[in-house]
């Protein structure tokens, strides 16, 4: 028997529907159970088809902070007057829903704010013959939102009782005659995530009276307990010893009088000696620390080293540079031609490098690590730890790629007002170090002379 053009009732279906909506099942049962012979069940059948079409929607994947737009067709039902959509509520506050009547679609768009499941609550009226409009709702899942990996990084403080305290960040800017030295160093996300210290360090100086620049950058080995002390000692010792030599007027008079080749050799020896003194200081430190920290050795202070000194002598810039381990130093002249001031010490395996604390470094032609170069001019000299060079150059071959150096310099100059010689500028360089690069979250240090 057909009444009002409805299909014959289906008793089983009533039960099924009632069970499908635990939240509204009280209403459902009240409505459904008394009518075993006519109409309302048929309404439910239409409702069932309507609701099921939403339940079959494919759950999409998205990430917190990622703009997304989804569209769903509003299913056709036999008698459209039976169901009226009153409201659509999205469980994530960053997303909104709207109905587009022209193409019979529901559009959900926005930016998910919280990880987890996003669902939609469809609020609608169901028109029944005996009870008129019944307010109903149906909830279905549309999105699975994963957290933004950037937000998973913790920023834990370091242990303030541990030996060899180190600040998480430092930056400096120095007027160096007509030039500027700017430097910044920052604890990497991977260290911050575990509350580990910043192992990178730098020391820079310009000697006004004699016109010498002294730059040192060091990266403490992640696997060495006190490498933060090793990197600091390596930089400080280099600076102290070079300062002592290069600030002397007498020494400078001699240097200037020397023939270029002899001068280069003498300066190379001085740089090598100053870097080597870093190791002696580390050994002395390890020796004196052993009372308080049993079993500590020089290996616990493992660190890389990048250092250079430079001065304008006559009409040339003389640069003496030395590198141990990874990280890189390079010079761009006014025509943007690149000269590398160090050679990276890449290992056979990923993550393998050399440290100032290794005997092989000092036994195997150490002077070969020292370079003397002369230039008519320079635009910028950049020294950086691998925390910067890995993401910016990626491979050892790319370190020789001039355009990547120019790109790096332009990137910095675009974000840091290098022309303004203020503390704020150095702070901006430190902010620049926060750049995002997937998989690269090591400590970062960069020094620019320009």
């Amino acid at each position: 028997m057909n009444i009002d053009g409805f299909e014959p009732p289906d008793k089983d279906n009533v039960e099924e529907i009632a069970n499908a909506y635990p939240s509204t099942c009280e209403i459902e049962k009240k409505v459904a159970i008394p009518f075993t012979s006519i109409g309302p069940e048929a309404v439910f059948k239409q409702e069932d088809a309507f609701v099921k079409s939403f339940d079959q929607i494919m759950v999409k994947r998205s990430m917190v902070g990622e703009q997304i737009t989804l569209e769903y067709e509003i299913p056709e039902i036999k008698d459209p007057t039976r169901i009226t959509i009153k409201d659509i509520v999205v469980s994530d506050s960053g997303m909104q829903a709207k109905i587009c009547p022209e193409n019979k679609k529901i559009q959900i768009s926005g930016i998910p704010t919280t990880p987890g499941d996003v669902s939609i609550k469809l609020v609608y009226n169901l028109l029944t013959k005996l009870q008129g409009n019944i307010a109903k709702e149906h909830v279905f899942k549309i999105l699975q939102v994963t957290p933004d990996p950037k937000t998973l990084w913790r920023n834990l403080p370091t242990d303030n009782h541990a030996p060899y305290q180190a600040v998480d960040e430092e930056h400096v800017i120095i007027q160096a005659g007509e030039h500027t030295i700017i430097a910044a160093s920052k604890r990497g996300r991977s260290h911050a995530h575990d509350g580990k210290f910043r192992d990178d360090n730098f020391k820079v100086e310009y000697i006004d009276e004699t016109g010498w620049f002294i730059i040192a950058v060091s990266d403490g080995a992640g696997s060495a307990k006190f490498s933060r002390a090793g990197s600091r000692i390596a930089c400080q010792t280099f600076l102290d010893i070079m300062h002592e030599k290069l600030s002397s007027r007498e020494v400078n008079v001699k240097i200037e009088q020397m023939a270029p080749a002899a001068r280069e050799n003498a300066l190379k020896n001085a740089v090598l000696a100053a870097a080597y003194q870093g190791l002696s200081k580390i050994d002395a430190e390890a020796k004196s620390a052993v009372d308080k920290i049993p079993g500590v050795t020089r290996k616990d202070y493992s660190a890389t080293f990048l250092g250079h000194i430079m001065k304008r002598i006559g009409d040339k810039w003389v640069v003496i540079s030395m590198g141990i381990g990874d990280g890189i130093m390079g010079l761009l002249n006014q025509s943007c031609n690149l000269t590398l001031l160090s050679e990276p010490d890449g290992g056979e395996f990923v993550g393998q490098t050399r440290f100032i604390t290794m005997n092989e470094v000092w036994q195997n032609n150490p002077i070969g690590r020292v370079r003397a170069s002369t230039f008519d001019d320079f635009k910028v000299i950049m020294s950086m730890s691998d925390g910067v060079s890995d993401p910016k150059f990626e491979t050892d071959n790319n370190l020789k790629n001039e355009s990547l150096w120019i790109e790096l310099y332009n990137d910095i100059a675009g974000q840091v007002p290098l022309g303004e010689r203020s503390e704020e500028t150095a702070h901006k360089l430190s902010d620049w170090l926060d750049f995002w690069s997937k998989g690269n979250h090591d400590d970062r240090t960069i020094v620019l002379v320009y």
Partner: protein, 211 residues
Amino acid sequence: MRRLPVYLLVDTSGSMKGEPIAAANNGLQAMIATLKQDPFALESVYISIITFDRDVNEVLPLTELETLQAPVLSTPESGPTLMGKALEVLIQKINHDIVKNCPEQKGDWRPLLFVITDGKPSDKATYKEIVEKIKTYKFAAIIACAAGQDAQTEPLKMLTEHVYALATMDGASFTQFFKWVSQSIAQGTAKGTSSSSIMLPPPPSEMSVVF
């Protein structure tokens, strides 16, 4: 981007049918969910799953953690346990998957290998042969787990010094095992695995070290 490849070799032979395979599936799901919460792992871990029973199947090719969905493992009714063949397939996959370090390219970290079985290799000769070959490959660590009473630890000890026994094959044990696996992987990424072997976290009480 340096990847940390992680290979899971899972025994899906007939004896795993029922609760053990269901428990393994749950454990696998939980492990992947846990790893997805770790920012190091999210950026570097790639996982591959190879199952072995009377066939060997790469049910999950090496896939980055961020996008991967855990496959559902199933078992046949019966048949041999082709663990040797599984290791052969593993070697082929490793030869194909792993990026070596060179001046033009940053290579992958050394891979991690986890093998879990509730029995013993049926293809003994192949197994013996392939184990020798595996030793020439540089893994960050090979970890073998003998699950249940019938698992034999001797063949696993030929493969690696890291052999653990899981006394029971219920949900709780597998959950603990996979939790430990995810900790081991997370530790692998955090350390950078530059050293020849990684430090494994202490195993849960459900697992015992096999000497």
